[in-house]
Amino acid sequence: MRLNFWQLLFGFALLGSVVLGLMQDKEWVYLWDFPLFFALTGLLGCLFLSWVAKGLVSPLLDRPEDFYDPSEKDPDWSGESPAVAPPASTPRGRTPAGREG
């Protein structure tokens, strides 16, 4: 496996942070005084949160992008369409359509 410069740098930084943690001689009072606590939190926490979000929450709550805009399917429903024209702004300097400043 060939590593590029950034990957090597990242690897050394990982190692360095672990060594730095182990070098500190601190008395344990809490869980987070364990020298590698934050490395493990990063490692496991990231996996755990990704799993909660993508594995648990996403299947439950994902909906298509037009979920709240059923105006085309339902002729009775026009509650979200503007009753008046959107606010007029100075036409000069208006950026191209679809973009604004």
Binding site: A39, G42, K54, L61, E65, G101
Partner: protein
């Protein structure tokens, strides 16, 4: 007393004056007012008051103490930076709204009594809603209306609570609240603006839909003012600790899921507000200092994140990560700006987040709440994962976009504003003293730079990044939206529409048809002067009007009514004569 000008009034005055200056100069003149406000703030000393007798009450237009002063400073500076970011804008409506919004925020910050606070609180809601509305799209219109309704609901809670409080205590002063129904109502009002779950959905609904420049003002002002009011009114309320923890986790989970860049950032505001709300709930001096420091630095780097995201949207017209990717070749500078802000919010060493967020966690540790500490560490991981890694990776790298994107040039003023914020983020990170000395209660009893804290910071970030790069495929954003508590009022809106508007419309439709029908029937049987004239004269003329009908319905009806009236009059006259 030149020193005692409420700085908010300067900005509100600016909102009135700015339409009068020539269009080209407006965005430059805009900057004068926040700059003036900064000048006024520099002269304010803690302890100063400005009262104003109104009816039987003495309003406190200006109450200067350490807490209001530090927030005043950051609001004015944020307005200045956002003003630079919006220099290219030629939209008077937005400029007026932004000044009015920032001015009322400053007004509310220095308000010493509940009436003044509510007055500015309501102006804020309207002025900021305009910044969403100004986007001009159908979605923005809907969002702005919902935003307004939610904030008016919050404002009503606040007003109700304030009136109750005044009736109970006889005092209009805005100070720490003691409890009771009035206080809970006021807390509810503040909680809407502080995006406390489940009252938070307006933030992820509105911020991604506001204008590119408008969102910068919004992210800096509304929620952070709510943090200020909570810190003043509800420090040490236990419920806020748990509300804060819920917010911190809830926001970060959604931030990991969302597809729209600015929606990720909006949910992440909820998460960061969770840290602040929890710290306010802890209520110790150190915790309040942590909450304030975090709010102040958050305005800086969250604003910077929104500015960088706004630059991408301005340049590409696209805000969904599922449609973006590979932008590094076209927008490298925006990438590096974003990365600084993303690292800062993940509290990477030597950036502003490192000197503020750990104070809140440390305060929780000090208060003997190990569960809260662990949870906040976990949320820190999610912060870096969602805002610091996911967004930049899938926007600037992560393969090619579905459709090729041609990035348009970004105005220089946007870059200037962003680099200015980058400079401040780094400056505060390496030199926190200016912020620390301004905190209420003196310099906090916390040393950000120790070998231990640096090790913690590096370990957390590096190992999170390691996992992220291993599972990027799993985390790829999907082209979906996620349901949230706004489902309650967005889907029920349809039901309400069906049950209230549709039946009424149908009834009037039926009534209209019925009355026309009846009129027509009467007319057919009624008096037709044309036919009558013809029958008397015994002549047949050309057919007029609709074939088969010799006179129009209106004519028939009016003639019938006239004849009835005439006959009735004659009958009445005869009756009178006979009698």
């Amino acid at each position: 007393m030149l020193g005692l000008i409420p700085p908010g009034l300067i900005l509100i005055l600016g909102a009135l004056l700015i339409p009068l200056v020539p269009a080209r100069a407006r965005s430059w003149v805009f900057l004068i007012f926040p700059a003036l406000a900064v000048g006024v703030l520099a002269n304010l000393q803690p302890g100063e008051h400005l009262g104003w007798a109104f009816a039987t009450y003495e309003l406190q237009l200006l109450r200067v103490d350490a807490l209001s002063l530090v927030f005043g400073w950051v609001f004015a500076l944020a307005t200045l930076v956002a003003g630079i970011y919006a220099l290219h804008l030629r939209d008077t409506g937005q400029q007026v709204a932004a000044l009015l919004y920032a001015g009322s925020t400053l007004g509310a910050t220095f308000a010493g009594d509940l009436f003044t606070l509510i007055f500015f609180w309501e102006i804020m809601a309207f002025a900021s809603a305009y910044l969403i509305w100004a986007r001009g799209t159908k979605e923005a219109y809907g969002s702005a209306m919902r935003y307004l309704f939610v904030h008016l609901f919050g404002g009503s809670l606040l007003l109700g609570g304030a009136l109750w409080h005044i009736a109970e205590t006889g005092s209009i002063a805005f100070d720490a609240f003691e409890g009771g129904i009035a206080s809970w109502l006021i807390l509810g009002g503040f909680a809407v603006n502080a995006a406390v779950v489940p009252l938070h959905a307006w933030i992820s609904d509105a911020y991604p839909r506001a204008t590119v420049t408008g969102t910068i003002f919004m992210s800096a002002l509304t929620t952070k003012l709510a943090v200020y009011t909570l810190a003043r009114g509800f420090a040490g309320w236990d419920i806020l600790i748990w509300a804060g923890c819920l917010m911190a986790v809830y926001g970060v989970i959604y931030a990991i899921l969302c597809n729209d860049i600015r929606r990720v950032l909006s949910y992440h505001i909820v998460s960061q507000l969770g840290f602040m709300v929890a710290a306010i709930g802890i209520g110790s001096t150190l915790a309040i200092q942590g909450a304030v420091a975090l709010a102040i630095t958050n305005i800086l780097y969250k604003g910077l994140l929104f500015m960088a995201a706004g630059a991408v949207i301005y340049s590409t017209g696209e805000s969904r990560m599922s449609q973006l990717g590979g932008l590094y070749r076209q927008l490298p500078a925006v990438f590096w700006i974003y990365v600084v802000a993303g690292l800062a919010i993940a509290s990477a060493p030597f950036l502003a987040g490192f000197i503020s967020k750990p104070i809140t966690v440390y305060a929780a540790e000090y208060a003997g709440l190990p569960g809260v500490v662990l949870l906040l560490h976990l949320v820190s991981v999610g912060t870096f994962l969602s805002v610091g890694l996911k967004v930049p990776y899938f926007t600037w790298f992560g393969g090619e976009p579905k459709k090729p994107i041609q990035a348009a040039a970004i105005p220089t003023n946007m870059y200037v504003a962003m680099w200015l914020a980058v400079g401040l983020t780094v400056l505060l990170g390496v030199w926190p003293d200016p912020l620390y000395t301004m905190l209420p209660g003196g310099v906090p009893d916390y040393d950000p730079y120790t070998v231990a804290s640096l090790t913690k910071g590096f370990q957390l970030l590096l190992f999170t990044a390691l996992v992220f790069f291993a599972i990027t495929g799993y985390l790829k954003p999907k082209q979906k939206i996620q349901l949230d508590t706004d489902w309650v009022y967005r889907s029920s809106a349809r039901l309400v529409w069906r049950t209230t508007v549709v039946p009424v419309e149908r009834f009037f439709k039926w009534w209209e048809d019925f009355s026309w029908d009846t009129t027509r029937k009467i007319a057919r049987r009624g008096f037709d002067p044309v036919a009558w004239t013809r029958s008397i004269l015994g002549r047949t003329g050309p057919e007029v009007g609709i074939p088969g009908e010799t006179a129009s319905t209106t004519l028939r009806v009016s003639m019938t009514v006239m004849m009835v009236f005439l006959l009735a009059t004659i009958a009445a006259v005869m009756l009178i004569i006979v009698i």
